[in-house]
Amino acid sequence: MSLLELKNVSKIYGELKALDNVSLHVDQGEWVAIMGPSGSGKSTMMNIIGCMDKPTKGEVLLDGVDISKESSKNLTDIRRDKIGLIFQQFHMVNYLTAVENVMVSQYYHSMPDEQEALEALERVGLRERAKHLPSQLSGGEQQRVCVARALINHPELILADEPTGNLDEANENIVLDLFAQLHREGTTLIVVTHDPEVAEAAQRTIVLEHGRIAREVINENFGK
């Protein structure tokens, strides 16, 4: 079953075609990596899938809803309800503790529930760091908090933008293991990266070049 479908999507800034007639299909529960050099349109694609930008042309169907024509208010609602975001720079609210940062996501989504937030931290192995401020956490720990924050509202889709870009290898592996766990539970994952190792962890890799899909690689070794 299709969760996300891009149909002939273009994003044009003046003369520049950031995305040029891209079509993409992601099934429910799939784990897809998007690769490409900088300027290839990765960020633009991510913005559009993440409901933070609209395509100039084409249709984007997320869970059956065409998000290419929605108002920005509705896009905010859709993003909140369906998407969990993970960023390269982690982006935690620096004056809130780890558990509070997770609760912020609950707060905007529905109801803050400290117990549930603590369980999410437990899942990423940071239960005992719950009361720490971001400045007291390592980069890897911060990103794990962000994973907890992304999964707390049980989103249909987790969208990660260079999630391991700022992490050492040990932490990269922890995060990828978490992704694998989420994948096994049926969460759809789209991971934007330029790291081949991260891309190889996914089932399928889409390579963007000059705003077009250059090629698509199925990871034969996935799950092995």
Partner: protein, 486 residues
């Protein structure tokens, strides 16, 4: 946990865990609120403060006897009840007569007064020495002192010489309510009979004193002591007729006739009493730069001894009240009392009102400017806070925060800051106002309990207003900024 609790938790965390940043915003609101609260306190208190200040310029109200009436000390207390006790700074009665200093062949204007009140209504009086405290003591104007060469400690012999000049009041004109009259007539054997008559407020005889010292003691001399003879006069209206209003003292017809004649011809006392001489000690020399330097001041008791009268010419009042209030008091005094009228010293009251008006306008203007500056300062700080937290705002929006949530969070922080700043300002503002008041006006102010909630509300309002533009900025932030791997 409810959303509201999470909301409060986020706001307090933002303020408490980002102390150094928020301290600046809090300080700007706090200082603004302090100055505002202080100025408002002073603004409210200025009329009272200045009212007390203005009293150093002297009396602002005069009490005078009404046309055809007299004013004496006994009446004064009743009249003063019209004015609230806490607003009445002082009330100084004055009685002016000419006194002679025979030894120097000089004559001065002498003012009988109540020395305990003089410093209150004439704070600018500068005394070398001291105010008289007892009877037979005088305060001498500098000009007189220089002229006749008296110093503190000198003695002066002053004589009250009733003058029979052409301008004196006729007996008929003298018969006014509360008047004190004195008369004399030739009695038996060429001696003189003196009488002092006091009239009541209906102009009937209230009391009568007879000095028949030159009359034959066993006969006419009895007139002064015989109660039955004296009683006949009380309550009667002048003129009297012997045999009708008053029966003669047996065996002293001539003296009786003389008494009646003396009573009938009695006039206002200072024009008809006998000469009196008293010895005074100078306790101080008065410098004012004004006409008071040409006067000799003595107590009302001595004045009574000299002139035999307790009448007053004028009472100077110093009242700490607004111009309108003074007008009201003056009107009330004139209405309520048949014999007394009150007048305002316009020169003083007008300049008071004008200075007060300018001062309040100035304080108001400064308050307005401070208000504006505070808003600019808070707004700038919040603007800086917003740009500093761009990424965080972007993140919140990326996580699904609506524009309304972002507005609510920043407004919440602003209001919280305003509340804290208001409490700080309310307390410090009172201290500030107190310091200003003590240093500028030399008097302390009372704490207005209402000041605290008002300051809190005002500073919350200012904070909220100042946050409007920064909030607009915050709402406009694009959530996509969190994605670009900057």
């Amino acid at each position: 946990m409810t959303k509201r609790r999470m909301f409060l938790r986020m706001i307090t965390a933002s303020l408490l865990r980002r102390r150094s940043r928020m301290m600046i915003a809090l300080l700007s609101i706090g200082i603004g609120a302090t100055i505002l609260a202080g100025l408002v306190t002073i603004y409210v208190d200025v009329p009272r403060q200045m009212g007390a200040q203005f009293r150093s310029y002297g009396a602002n109200m005069l009490l005078l006897p009404k046309e055809g009436a007299a004013l004496n000390r006994d009446q004064l207390a009743g009249v003063l009840e019209t004015i609230p006790e806490d607003e009445l700074i002082g009330a100084t009665p004055y009685r002016y007569v000419r006194l002679d200093m025979t030894s120097r062949q000089q004559s001065f204007t002498a003012a009988g007064t109540d020395f305990s009140q003089v410093p209150k209504t004439s704070p600018y009086f500068s005394i070398e020495g001291a105010y008289p405290e007892n009877t037979r003591e005088v305060l001498v104007g500098k000009n007189i002192a220089d002229n006749i060469g008296v110093k503190t400690g000198s003695t002066m012999e002053l004589t009250y010489q009733p003058t029979d000049s052409g301008e004196q009041a006729s007996p008929e004109e003298s018969r006014i309510p509360n008047a004190e009259l004195a008369g004399s007539a030739e009695g038996f054997g060429g001696g003189t009979v003196y009488v002092n008559v006091k009239l009541d407020d209906q102009a009937a005889i209230a009391s009568l004193e007879i000095d028949a010292g030159t009359q034959t003691p066993e006969y006419g001399g009895r007139a002064a002591e015989d109660d039955n003879f004296l009683k006949q006069f009380i309550g009667k209206t002048l003129p009297l007729a012997l045999g009708e209003d008053v029966d003669a003292l047996s065996g002293a017809t001539v003296t009786s006739e003389a008494v009646v004649q003396a009573v009938n011809t009695a006039r206002k006392t200072e024009k008809a009493a006998r000469p009196q001489t008293l010895n005074f000690t100078v306790t101080g020399i008065l410098t004012t730069g004004g006409e008071e330097e040409d006067y000799v001041f003595l107590s009302l008791d001595d004045m009574k001894t000299l002139t035999g009268s307790e009448q007053l010419d004028v009472v100077e009042l110093s009242v700490s009240a607004s111009a309108e209030q003074l007008e009201a008091y003056a009107a009330a005094v004139s209405d309520e009392h048949d014999t007394v009228q009150a007048r305002l010293v316009k020169r003083v009251t007008r300049s008071e009102a004008s200075v007060l008006e300018k001062l309040t306008a100035l304080v108001f203007l400064v308050t307005l400017v401070v208000l504006l500056l505070t808003m600019i300062c808070v707004s700038t700080t919040m603007m800086a806070v917003v740009s500093e937290r761009r990424r965080e705002i972007g993140l919140r929006k990326a996580l699904g925060a609506s524009d309304g949530s972002i507005r609510a969070e920043f407004l919440g922080e602003g209001l919280f800051l305003g509340l804290l700043g208001g409490i700080l300002g309310g307390i410090l503002g009172f201290v500030f106002a107190q310091v200003v008041s003590v240093n500028v006006f030399g008097s302390s102010i009372t704490f207005q309990p209402l000041l605290l909630p008002i300051t809190m509300i005002v500073s919350m309002l200012i904070a909220a207003l100042s946050c409007l533009l920064p909030i607009k900025r915050a709402v406009a932030i694009d959530p996509a900024i969190v994605l670009k791997g900057e």
